[in-house]
């Protein structure tokens, strides 16, 4: 028999501490939609997505009601669009983006990810066309998310792609300048991109995945913070223990929702992504967990160590709670999506340099950071290269999602609304990496032994 304390604990987590399932993401392979005629291919893409995902939202809502657990987002990820675009004679990537948008709207999902290209070693057919079309595609659609993988531990970093992405990020911002530059908020540049990530904007359905799959991303920074607050003064061994136990409970809930969704939709279960994903809501912040551990403000000295502890404990707790774990799995530190990070950035406690160090010990990377509107493309490329190098050398996923605030400078704000949040423009180094970036070529893959 369940005991009353456990039941009330769950209710408190959901009601007061923002416990939720962040996303149920249906991965759909589009490889069988290839056709030399772009219109025929688009028709196949629309048909397949709407056929597979027609019950996704209603099933999610039903599970939400029956189990009493909020499921915030229902999303779709698809095969990297560049792969199917490769089959067309006329590689009209914007047409494909519009088709994906139409399918996303028809299914009622809030984002569709996979307008992507994997170019870590070089450009294949369709890759360049897709990457060049990203700014326009993001400006004419609302639900499409894009990602480009430019490096990996096994292949090194494709610096030609890095140079290209600096321009793409900048142009995406310019084309959406009238909408607070929302374009690049839907664009992630990855190193070591996971193929089963359910979180946006970086979700895509990898080539090694089955035809259709259900992946679930959990959340719950508020729950972890509340558990630490209840524990009061204890040493860090105990802090790690409390985080592990809490992550276990959160993940069990995610696993339950994942298996239930998979059963009801008749689609195989893929993975649970053990991530602490914050939202801009008060009480749902990863920064506040770090501050609860004893930091005066997120970004002060000690932040990297605290985050390393948190990230590791979340994984240790979560991994036993789920039959299959994957995706990004770790703590997210998106600046504009986290109330505590926004405050820390506003009052100057959190700087870009500290964020870069933090990305070496947690999942993802420089995420949702507003940068000055006059930042040249090569500086954005250099930020991407730095971050990719951290991921490549440490055999982990890193990513860059920065938003050039066109027409704005340091201290001014961009506001995207919803889960994407808002935040101040943060300063960058003003010295130029232009020559380094213009060299192009590839940074060779790193040694996997002699580790120091």
């Amino acid at each position: 028999m369940l005991n009353a304390r456990d039941i009330l604990e769950t209710i408190t987590m959901i009601q007061d501490e923002h416990l939720d399932v962040r996303t149920i993401t249906m991965g759909i392979s589009l490889l069988d939609c290839c056709h030399s005629d772009v219109d025929t291919m688009c028709a196949r893409v629309y048909d397949k997505i709407t056929r597979y995902a027609k019950n996704l939202v209603s099933t999610g809502e039903q599970i939400e009601k029956e189990f009493g657990i909020p499921i915030i987002n229902k999303r779709i990820s698809v095969t990297p669009a560049a792969m199917i675009l490769a089959s067309c004679d006329d590689k009209d990537a914007v047409k494909l983006a519009k088709t994906l948008e139409k399918a996303a709207v028809a299914c009622g999902v809030n984002f569709l990810g996979g307008f992507s290209a994997l170019v870590q070693k070089g450009f294949g057919p369709g890759d360049r066309e897709l990457i060049e079309a990203i700014p326009e595609a993001l400006s004419v659609t609302d639900h499409i998310c894009s990602s480009v993988n430019i490096g990996s531990t096994k292949t090194g970093i494709n610096m030609d792609a890095v140079a290209m992405m600096g321009h793409v990020v900048r142009k995406s911002a310019e084309l959406t300048a009238d909408r607070d530059c929302i374009g690049p908020a839907k664009l992630v540049v990855f190193c070591n991109a996971p193929e089963d990530n359910p979180f946006m904007a970086g979700a895509f359905h990898g080539a090694g995945e089955p035809d259709c799959v259900i992946n679930v991303g959990v959340s719950g920074p508020g729950v972890v913070r509340a558990a630490l607050a209840k524990a009061g003064d204890c040493d860090l061994t105990e802090v790690a223990d409390i985080i592990k136990k809490t992550a276990f409970k959160i993940t069990r809930m995610g696993q339950l929702v994942a298996s239930e969704a998979s059963r009801r939709l008749g689609v195989p279960f893929g993975i649970v992504d053990l991530s602490l994903a914050p939202t801009p809501a008060i009480g749902d912040s990863v920064a506040h967990i770090l501050e609860e551990m004893g930091l005066e403000a997120c970004g002060c000295h000690g932040t990297t160590a605290a985050l390393a502890l948190l990230n590791d404990a979340v994984k240790k707790g979560g991994v036993m709670a789920s039959s299959h774990v994957g995706g990004l799995s770790g703590a997210f530190i998106p600046v504009t999506e986290d109330a505590g990070m926004i405050d820390a950035a506003r009052n100057g406690a959190l700087t870009l340099n500290k964020l870069e160090a933090m990305t070496a010990v947690c999942s993802v990377g420089l995420d949702m950071i507003n940068i000055p509107g006059d930042t040249p493309a090569e500086v954005i490329s250099a930020i991407i290269a730095d971050e990719a190098a951290i991921g490549m050398v440490n055999s982990k996923t890193t990513a860059v999602r920065v938003i050039p605030a066109i027409g704005k400078g340091v201290g001014e704000e961009l506001s995207f609304g919803g889960l994407l949040g808002s935040g101040p423009v943060m300063p960058l180094s003003t010295y130029s990496p232009a020559k380094f970036i213009s060299r192009g070529g590839r940074i060779p893959a790193p040694m996997q032994s002699l580790k120091n």
Binding site: L2, A4, T10, I11, Q255
Partner: protein, 89 residues
């Protein structure tokens, strides 16, 4: 199939009667009831069997939610599995 109904709020006359009447109206059998006072708040937990219920569980859960907001209480009806998943290995 079993569900857990929780009622949290200020204690008042007729809470148990009201909820159990709703259960009875929809052929939902009450298996167990516990109640306690936690930090001045009344907390009642009911385990019910919903397998013979004459309405979909989501509708029943919405109805209880509405009764709760009318009475100034927080009432949740949730599938038993969520608690089992979170609190047992």
């Amino acid at each position: 199939m079993r569900a857990v109904i929780t009622v949290i709020g200020k204690d008042m006359v007729g809470i148990l009667a009201k909820i159990s009447t709703e259960c009875c109206n929809h052929n939902i059998n009450v298996l167990e009831v516990t109640q306690s006072i936690l930090q001045d708040m009344f907390a009642m937990i009911m385990m019910v069997d919903i397998s013979k219920s004459d309405i979909p569980f989501t509708e029943f859960s919405d109805m209880l939610g509405k009764i709760g907001s009318d009475m100034g209480l927080s009432i949740h009806a949730m599938h038993e599995d969520i608690f089992n998943a979170m609190h047992t290995i």
